[in-house]
Each structure stands twice: as C-alpha cells, then as structure tokens.
C-alpha cells in the first residue's frame, strides 16, 4: 500500500490534470469471488501513451473496462477530467473515448465500411441514420489505417490481423480524445505492428491520449511514454517509461530474472 502511494506521487500529480483517474478502486466480478482489483490508484496524464504491462490474468482488461465505465467498481471512483463517469451521458462517453477490443465476435457479414461506420453511433441518436458526412469520416478512418481497398469486402473474409486494424479504424471514426486498446498488437505480424506503432504515435501527436494493455515488454518499449506495471490486481510500479522500465522492476513483475539493455536509445528486455 505504501509502495503504491509512493510511486503514485511521482507519477503525474492531481486528478484534475489527469484525463482519467482511478481512485481507490476495488472490484470483483462476483460477490463471493476474490477481488480482481484492490485499492487501485492510477492517474493517466493528458497527452500520454500509457502502457499497462503485466502477466496474463493480472487484471489489465478489467482495468480498461473499468476506465470505460462498462464495469462498475464496488468501491472507489473513476474520474473523467476530475468528474465521476456517471455524470456523463452514454453518448458523451462514446464521443470522448473509444475501445479497441482484443477481438470481437462478429455475427453477420457486414462490409468493412458498414462496420467502421458504426463508430459514428455516439454522434447519432438511436433513430438517426448515418449521413454522407459520417460516411466520409468512416472512409477517412479506413484510409488512415491503409485499409481503403478493403472497404467493400465482407469483414468475415478478412484475416485476424486485418480485422484488428478494422477495429482500430472503427475507434478512429469515433474521433475520441482518449483511446483504449486491449492487446492491440497481439494478432499482428511485424510489418503491421510497425504500422500500428507509427499510427498510434501520430494520433498521440494530434492530441489523443492513449492507454493500451500488453503482456509484451517490446510493445510497451516501442511507444509508451508512461508505464504501469500491474500484478494480481495491484499497481506494482507506475511512472514515466524511463523510470519504470528497469531490470529490477520487470524481474519483480514477471517473477523471473530479466535483463534490460539499451540499443540505439531503445530499451530491450532479455530473458532466458
């Protein structure tokens, strides 16, 4: 507990300056089950790329779903720019933040464009049809991901990696200020990983705050400005990437002796 508070004080300052803050969160999926998250504190600084790094089952996805407001904590609060999430309408939330899930079950053969167009939902009331302008924004999002040529293809005919990029395009069509990505690089090959990293950097430059979860230290080291190490529902360490990405911290996180080496200004993890 002391350790968590100490690292928190080094990491960003007050909830008011943070885009998103989780304050003293405790969460469990069912009343009689052990807590997934206990007394969890976290502030996400505006304009950062925050990577949430931790072993499988550490509660990373749960953390994103709490930040999104889909899961409600039993205790504590989630604050959007200092105000509790419940003060915002569903549409206000959808215009403000977007989620790129790890994978998504798609029950019908939508075309890629129809699917990306759904990203415009938060800007339309439930009875409205998307306009020509919404269509243009969706096409633009596809172009940004380099997927324009797939617009009329059936989404079920795409490969896993392509679908992942389509999900990112849908999130872009939401024009969010804050972007959650759940293991965004998990299904991508090296070239697509590089494309995603470049794109996320560019989005970040344009003012979008990015929070992503990953279990791979390489993904975190390739773009994160801030790092949160999560272990069994607790923040192990949090702070700027430079501060936190050390051999000592990562060894503690994975329970495994690792080395961190620097190569051309980039930190790499060596194991085994």
């Amino acid at each position: 507990m002391n350790e968590t508070s100490a690292s928190l004080s080094k990491y960003s300052s007050s909830p008011a300056e943070s885009v998103l803050s989780l304050y003293d969160l405790s969460f469990c999926y069912q009343a009689n089950q052990p807590a997934v998250m206990e007394h969890f504190h976290l502030n996400i600084p505006r304009g950062s790329i925050t990577a949430i790094l931790g072993p499988n089952g550490a509660g990373k996805t749960t953390l994103l779903l709490l930040g999104l407001g889909w899961l409600r904590p039993q205790q504590g609060q989630v604050l959007r720019e200092g105000k509790p999430l419940r003060r915002f309408s569903r549409r206000e939330m959808g215009q403000w933040c977007a989620l790129v899930p790890q994978s998504e079950h798609i029950p019908f053969e939508y075309s890629v464009l129809e699917y990306v167009l759904l990203g415009r939902s938060p800007y339309l009331n439930p009875l409205e049809m998307p306009t020509e302008q919404d269509c243009q924004i969706a096409l633009q999002a596809l172009a940004q991901m380099g997927l324009s040529q797939l617009a009329d293809r059936s989404i079920l005919s795409l490969s896993g990696g392509e679908r992942q990029l389509v999900l990112v395009a849908r999130a872009l069509a939401q024009q969010p200020r804050l972007l959650f990505l759940d293991e965004p690089a998990a299904h991508l090959d090296l070239a697509n990983k590089e494309r995603l990293v470049q794109l996320l950097r560019a989005l970040n430059q344009s003012g979008i705050t990015i929070i992503l979860t990953t279990h791979e230290p390489e993904v975190a080291s390739s773009l994160a400005t801030h790092l949160v190490l999560v272990q069994r529902g607790k923040v192990l360490h949090a702070g700027s990437f430079q501060e936190i990405f050390t051999a000592e911290n990562l060894s503690e996180l994975y329970g495994l002796a690792v080395e961190v080496v620097e190569h051309k200004g980039r930190r790499l993890v060596l194991w085994a």
Partner: protein
Amino acid sequence: MQFNRQGLLITLGVWLAVSVILALFIGRYPTPSILTLDRLLSDDLAQRLVWNLRLPRVFSALMLGMSLSAAGTVLQMLFGNPLIEPGFLGVSQGAAFGAAFSIIFLGNAAWLVQLNAALFAFVGLGFSYFLARRVRFGGWVLRLVLAGIAVSALFSSGVGILKYMADPLRQLQEITFWLLGGLWSSTWAQTLSILPVVLVGLTIAFLMRWRLNLLSLTDEAAFSLGASPNRERILLLFAVVSATAAVISAAGVVGWVGLIIPHIARRIFGADARYSLPAAMLIGGWFVLACDTLARTLMAGEIPLGILTSLIGAGLFMIMMLSRGFRLER
C-alpha cells in the same frame, strides 16, 4: 451499391402492391378463377366477397408476414444468432397453449381463442423474461435463450396434455387446425384489432434499423460506442415480440417464415439492417400473401397456411444450405 439496394427495395415494394391487388381478384368463386373487373362491378355478391372476406384476409396476411419476418430479423440481430426465430421466448408455444386451453375449457369462438392465445403469448414472454432475470450465471443473451427454451418446452408439454384430454371428434381436430395456422377466420374486426400493436411494433423496429447493427455486436462493443445495449435491446424485443404475439393470436402458429425470410433478405441485401430489415418485411409480406392465396384457392377445403409455409420454407432452406456462398457463423 447503396443506390442499387434502394432501387431494389422500391421494386420489391411495387411488386408487393401489385400482388396485393392480384390477390384480391384471385380465388374460388365458386371455382378457382380470376375475377374480371366487369364482373366485380356488376356482381353484388362478388363485391361483398372482395370487401368483407378477401380484403381483411389480404391485410392479415401482409401483417403476419411482415411481423414474423421483421421479428425474425430483429431477434437474430439482437441475439447475434442467425438461428433464432420469432416464436422463441415462449411466445409461440404460449399462444398454442392458450388457444388449446380455450378450445377445451372456455369455448371455440374465434375471438375467445385469439384472446387466450394473445394472453398466453405474453405470459410466455413475461415468464421467460423474469426467469432470465433470475438466472445467476451467464450473459444476458445466454440467459434469455435458455429461459426461452425452458418455457417453450413447458408450454408445449402443456399443449400435449391438452391434446390428450381433448375430445377426439370435435376439439382435437380444431386444436390441430389452429396449431397448423391459417387465416380463414379473418374478419375486419380481427384485422383491425391486431393492427395497432403490429403498426407500433414494426414502426419502432423500422426506425431503429441502423441501430440494430450496433446492437448485434457484443455488449462491451455496443456500450463503448455510446449505446445502452440492454435497455435498447429490451425496447426492441418487446416491440417485435408484441407484434408477433398479436399476429400469432389471429393466425395460429405459422412456421418457418420468421427463420427463413431474414436469411433470404440478408443474402440479397447484405447484413446491414438499414436494407435487410425493410427487405425482410417486404419479402415476408409477399411470401405469406402468396402462400395464403394458394391455401384458399388450390383446394375446395382450406389448406392450413402453416403447412404451406413450412413446406416451401424448409425447401428453400435446403436449397440455400446446398448453394454456394451460403454460410452461418457460429
């Protein structure tokens, strides 16, 4: 692509309108024939036949086909499962039980049978809904599906018991005929009595047709895109299931329409419900109208409508399964 789909929808609409007019002129009078305009204008009995019998029946057939197809499309999308049909959630079996109960214990007047069918359709729906709410595990979709299966089984065993108790000479025949479905009892009073519910249900579904795409996604995805998925799904669910309960109460259990028509519509128009929902309504309306016209024309005794729709529907389904490019996810 979009222009084509819109054009095709309009073509379907025109075709349906033409079919409605044709259906008014086709039928037994007294042998299978097509009324000529001259005959209609000069023959008083023919006028009454068309106005009092055929017209309400044609409207009932349209409402039946449109409601079942729209409900099928909506439910398949809401549950993200292309194998669901509108009688699901205890509605069909509830209505069947209500009708059989009425025939045996209360009397076989058409209005009484219908009232009971409608009542028990809603009892089935309500029972499924509250059962699903009390289930302690699984997501909302899984719980509704399980509750629907259990409640349907309960009512269908109830129907079995009632059939066993029924007088085999009078009541059993009547129950069987009702279970096979048909529109032979259509009157203006009946048609107008189900119209409001059908109109409201179909209008809600039609207005929310683009939203349906969003609601077909997982809960988390729909939520992250700014929807309140459970609230919106329940609104749509009650809208289309109410319409279904209304038409089932009037026509009995007419099978396969709600399952097969949404597939055909998606096959032609793509998955986007902006097009596939109105398409399903138009195709479904036409399909039931055509089947019902055959049902009352082909033989001197009426062929139960449900037999025709099942026969043709199951046949179409087999053809679709065997044809190239057909696939179901899940």
